[in-house]
């Protein structure tokens, strides 16, 4: 063959190869580009869902109540699908088209999480008004276990709603024309049913599998025969909870949250406790002014005491000493730490009322200022006195007949405005301190209870270890472990659960860890403490298990036989999820060039009303709060540091308040939103965020430590009050524990049976009395004061009992929180002191009629 021939053949072979290769590589490039586009769209849609969530929580006062939260999440879910559809170039009504591609949407919230996922649900029989039909409803007929249905329009509206009204339906006009007997025939009567049919009376009616609605047996009450369909539903709320159990010693359930708040419910040594509160380091808060035993009050009593406006000064011991390589809490001199004094300016209710009054006054003054600007004002004598009242600015000599007077009014009104703002700021500061002190004192009481009962081993107390864990979010841990590759195995772990006192050497920490420490105080739980890592592992296992479950349900409904498995998330991503309210969106199976798209995106929230992130609390000088000329800052901003002087005080608010305006008047079309923080965002720390941080918690360097006392105080007040004012879903109204020491009817204990704990720990004693007999028939009321045989007056109340009645009387005897007696008590040790010296009823008579004694502990 000639050379020309060879070269032609070469070209003929190479050219098509190159062309095919080009095409293939282009396809690959397109696929990748498409995938990047989808990534972006998924992230943006998730962000849209988060924005909807944030805005809705900001505008809903009860946003942290689970029912309100559910609607908010459903709305956010819709926003996600709408945004995704729009982003993918579809109509935003394409939700049902996209649903099969979304295996799950996970919402991790403050104390639990929601999963929105496809679920098989039975199909109910639903009438044209949208109501589910149950046995006994009008139009439903039964024969044995077969049900048939003929819709009856009992109202005109119902007929209008009916979209496929056919001949089988009973029309409204026909229904009206019927006599009572005919009407009653449309409905099945309980008495007419056979025994088998009676069992199902009132049950919901399902559509049978593959049934035609005209069939005489189209419906059933047996859920196993029902037709199922697959819907994206928001599954029930799952708390971050764990159950710990050791023989018959303790059996408790702890509900964790994203921060240091937790609830504990369960039995420890036969005493049933329900407790909730913030968990803070041991001995970090002391009482300097106020009852010396305030810490041994119950949380509620302490809260009441502080909120009544009494002087309470707390001392936060946040100084760390570097001893033997480890950082330990300083227990030395009194001046090391931060003092916060609350009270002396009225009770919480009074302060709140004061703020309300001042706010009204303020809006009045601003509206008059606006009227002056527009040139129309009528200043009545009544108004003059109103304006003078509380502002200290005198208006009495003003006469508005001449033009100069307007200027004068303007000046004085402006002064009044300033004065009111100052009053408001002062009152707000007092209120903040009240809330902060309540936070630290109740948190200490709660934490002390944990340290005493669950973190130290003793005869009546236990140290809860990781191996005691039996359930996570209601699911047996053994089962979870069998199905999941757990990140940390609790089963044989001797690690304590409630241990946060593991402050390590700063030198051992990495740079990033030190930066993390700078952002929070020594009062927060350390990220490397056993408690923190335990909590994270529990939450992680719980989420992973339930997500896996959802994914497997999703797999069952997949038509293609490709299996979808939950992607493995990185540690850094978990860290993010477990510290913030987040939305995680999974997407799978969408056609994407040469392959199917599969990825997930996480968006975390930093501005919402259901958590407090210490880093997102902003501070303003008290005197400059709500002043348009000054800035608000982060606590570690150099600008805040530079303008700090020796006696500065600060007001604070959470980022959400600056980010979203609260809807304050829905009816006002002009100004429905109110921006209540006029301060500007600092360009260094809020708008930009890249600045040299002031380490105000650097407690090792003495000179720094003293310099930043004001700022630390501002931080403690800011974080404390924000947390205290947060509405918590899992909060227990009365944090206490109870023990039944005597129950005559159930043969539990006896009248001489003593409580397992001392009187000092008792909050109240509940006694149920049978008939108290009085021989004097004229005596129709008995009055008693109650004390113990130890001589303690339990309280100053007088209890009234009606004698000779057959009904039971329940007495709740509150125990004075100041009693510190270290002795146990039984019902027989109570003395019922009759206030009527002439009465024949003695203490023994009353005691003989005791039939039930319950001791309520703090």
């Amino acid at each position: 063959m000639k050379l020309q021939g060879v070269s032609v053949i070469f070209a003929l072979i190479v050219l098509p190869l190159i062309l095919v290769l080009t095409y293939y590589i282009h396809l690959q490039v397109d696929t990748l580009q498409l995938q990047n586009e989808f990534d972006k769209k998924l992230l943006d849609s998730t962000y849209g869902a988060m924005s909807a969530f944030e805005i809705n929580t900001a505008n809903e006062d009860l946003s942290s109540v689970s029912d309100a939260l559910r609607t908010i999440i459903e709305a956010s879910n819709n926003v996600f699908f709408n945004t995704l559809a729009t982003n993918l170039g579809m109509s935003n009504a394409s939700k049902s088209y996209l649903e099969p591609y979304i295996p799950a949407l996970l919402y991790t919230l403050y104390d639990g999480y929601y999963i929105s996922t496809p679920t098989r649900t039975p199909q109910f029989l639903i009438d044209s008004d949208g109501n589910a039909v149950s046995v006994g409803d009008i139009g439903l007929d039964v024969s044995g276990s077969n049900y048939s249905y003929k819709e009856v329009h009992t109202s005109e509206e119902s007929e209008k709603n009916c979209t496929n009204c056919d001949a089988t339906h009973v029309k409204y006009a026909d229904y009206i024309a019927m006599d009572n007997a005919q009407k009653s025939d449309l409905q099945i009567k309980y008495d007419d049913l056979t025994d088998v049919e009676k069992e199902n009376y009132g049950q919901l009616v399902y559509i049978k599998k593959k049934a035609n609605k005209d069939d005489p047996d189209a419906y059933t009450t047996n859920i196993d025969d029902a037709e199922y369909e697959i819907n994206h539903v928001l599954k029930t709320y799952m708390p971050y909870s764990a159950r710990y159990k050791r023989d018959n010693k303790f059996d408790i359930v702890a509900i964790y949250t994203l921060d240091n708040y937790l609830s504990i419910e369960g039995t420890i040594n036969n005493i049933y406790y329900t407790k909730s509160g913030y968990f803070i380091p041991k001995n970090s808060v002391e009482i300097k002014t106020g009852p010396s035993n305030l810490m041994s009050y119950s949380q509620d009593d302490a809260k009441k005491y502080i909120e009544s406006g009494q002087n309470v000064e707390i001392f936060i011991r946040d100084k760390m000493d570097e001893n033997s390589g480890n950082i330990v809490r300083h227990s030395g001199a009194d001046d090391i730490g931060v003092k916060i004094l609350s009270g002396g300016h009225g009770s919480k209710a009074e302060l709140e009322e004061n703020i309300r009054v001042q706010n009204n006054r303020y809006s009045k003054v601003t509206s008059y200022l606006a009227q002056i600007n527009s040139g129309s004002i009528v200043l009545s004598e009544e108004l003059k006195s109103q304006l003078s009242n509380g502002t200290g600015v005198d208006f009495s000599d003003i006469n508005i007949s001449n033009h100069n007077a307007l200027n004068e009014i303007y000046t004085r009104l402006s002064n009044a405005e300033l004065q009111i703002q100052e009053n408001l700021n002062n009152t707000q500061y007092e209120l903040d301190k009240l809330s902060a002190v309540t936070y630290y004192v109740t948190a200490s009481i709660f934490s002390n209870w944990i340290y005493e009962n669950l973190a130290t081993a003793g005869s009546e107390t236990y140290e809860v270890l990781e191996k005691d864990l039996v359930e996570i979010s209601g699911q047996s841990y053994k089962l979870i472990k069998g199905k999941l590759e757990v990140s940390h195995d609790f089963e044989d772990s001797e690690n304590p659960v409630f241990d946060i006192e593991n402050i390590t050497n700063r030198e051992q920490l990495s740079e990033v860890e030190i930066e993390k420490m700078k952002e929070k105080s020594n009062m927060e739980i350390d990220v490397d403490s056993p408690f923190y890592s335990h909590k994270l592992n529990v939450i992680r296992d719980s989420i992973q298990y339930n997500l896996n479950l959802s994914m497997s349900t999703y797999n069952n409904m997949l038509i293609s036989n490709k299996d979808y498995a939950m992607p493995v998330m990185e540690n850094e991503e978990w860290e993010k999820i477990l510290n913030h309210v987040s939305i995680i969106a999974f997407m799978q199976g969408y056609d994407c060039g040469l392959k199917n798209y599969s990825n997930y995106k996480i968006v975390s929230s930093t501005n919402n009303e259901i958590t407090v992130l210490p880093r997102e609390v902003y501070y303003v000088k008290q005197s400059e709060f709500s002043n348009e000329k000054s800035d608000y800052h982060r606590i570690d901003c150099p600008k805040l540091r530079d303008m700090d002087t020796s006696d500065n005080t600060y007001l604070s608010f959470i980022s959400k308040e600056a980010k979203y305006d609260k809807l304050f008047d829905k009816t006002n079309a002009q100004i429905p939103y109110k921006y209540d923080h006029k301060n500007l965002a600092c360009y260094e720390c809020i708008n930009d965020g890249n600045y040299l941080k002031t380490d105000i918690f650097d407690t090792i360097d003495n000179s720094n430590y003293d310099t930043y006392k004001n700022l630390r105080k501002a931080y403690y007040i800011g974080v404390g009050k924000s947390r205290n004012n947060l509405y918590k879903m899992n909060a227990i109204t009365n944090s206490d524990g109870y023990e039944i020491i005597y129950d005559k009817e159930s043969h539990v204990g006896g009248i001489a049976n003593t409580s397992s704990r001392n009187i000092a720990d008792i909050k109240a004693i509940e006694i149920v009395l049978d008939t108290v007999k009085s021989l004097d028939s004229q005596e129709n009321v008995l009055n008693f004061q109650i004390r113990t045989t130890y001589g303690d007056e339990l309280n100053s109340n007088v209890y009234t009992i009606v004698p000779n009645v057959t009904t039971n009387t329940t007495l709740r005897i509150e125990v004075n929180p100041n009693i510190t007696r270290e002795s146990k008590i039984s019902a027989s040790q109570l003395i019922f002191n009759n206030t009527d010296p002439l009465s024949a009823v003695t203490s023994e008579n009353v005691k003989n009629s005791i039939k039930f004694v319950k001791v309520i502990y703090r």
Binding site: Q4, S7, F10, A11, V14, L15, I18, L21, T22, I25, H26, Q28, V29, L32, Q33, Q35, N36, D39, K40, L43, D44, Y47, M50, E511, V512, E515, K516, E519, K576, H580, K601, V603, S604, S605, T606, N607, R615, E616, E628, S655, A658, K659, D661, A669, Q670, I671, P672, Y673, Y675, K678, L680, A681, I686, N687, D688, G689, N690, Y691, L692, K693
Partner: protein, 181 residues
């Protein structure tokens, strides 16, 4: 005479078809593959940064290493449009639906890299540049050297203008969270 001419033309044609065209084509595919990896690295970098609210030195270095591994040199341009929170909020509103009053100011590559590199200086950034929710982050990557395919194409025809590059990737989006450590 005419035979010789045809032979010369045939040799030239054969040379183009047998050597230059395959070479051009292969080098273009090589650019496509570079494009593939640059585009995905850029998208990953941007999406990661805007999901976490922070640009880290680690991620930035990873991006640079990945794109440089294609054998070309690149110009990476970053821009953050920082949302000014003070505008649009403070004026007295006459309507409840004020939209589009946001104002942004921009921060560019050199400023961002300065903070990233500044571990012990005035920022002590620890290699983290923080953004906040609402900022807009965009990155564009272009090759600065002449790739082989560009050189070969240059033999036949030349394109003028400053925007001549064969590998280019761009990705941007809104930052979804306030950055912190």
């Amino acid at each position: 005479m005419s035979d010789t001419l045809i032979t010369i033309v045939a040799i030239l044609l054969a040379a183009v078809l047998m050597f230059i065209f395959p070479l051009l084509s292969v080098s273009e595919r090589s650019d496509d593959i570079s494009q593939l990896s640059v585009a995905s690295a850029t998208a990953e970098f941007v999406d990661n940064s805007r999901a976490t609210g922070k640009i880290t030195m680690d991620n930035y270095t990873k991006l640079i290493t990945t794109i440089n591994a294609t054998g070309n040199s690149y110009d990476v341009e970053m821009e953050i449009k920082v949302l000014d929170e003070n505008i649009g909020k403070k004026s007295a509103w006459t309507q409840g639906t004020v939209i589009g009053e946001n104002v942004y100011y921009s921060v560019y590559t050199s400023q961002i890299v300065e903070v990233l590199k500044d571990r012990d200086g005035i920022y002590k950034s620890n290699g983290v540049y923080k953004m906040k929710e609402g900022d807009i982050f965009s990155v564009s990557v272009k090759n600065t050297n002449k790739t082989l395919s560009q050189t070969i194409r240059g033999v036949f025809y030349s394109m003028s203008g400053s925007d001549v590059y064969s590998i280019m990737a761009q990705h941007s989006g809104i930052v979804t969270a306030n950055g912190s450590y």
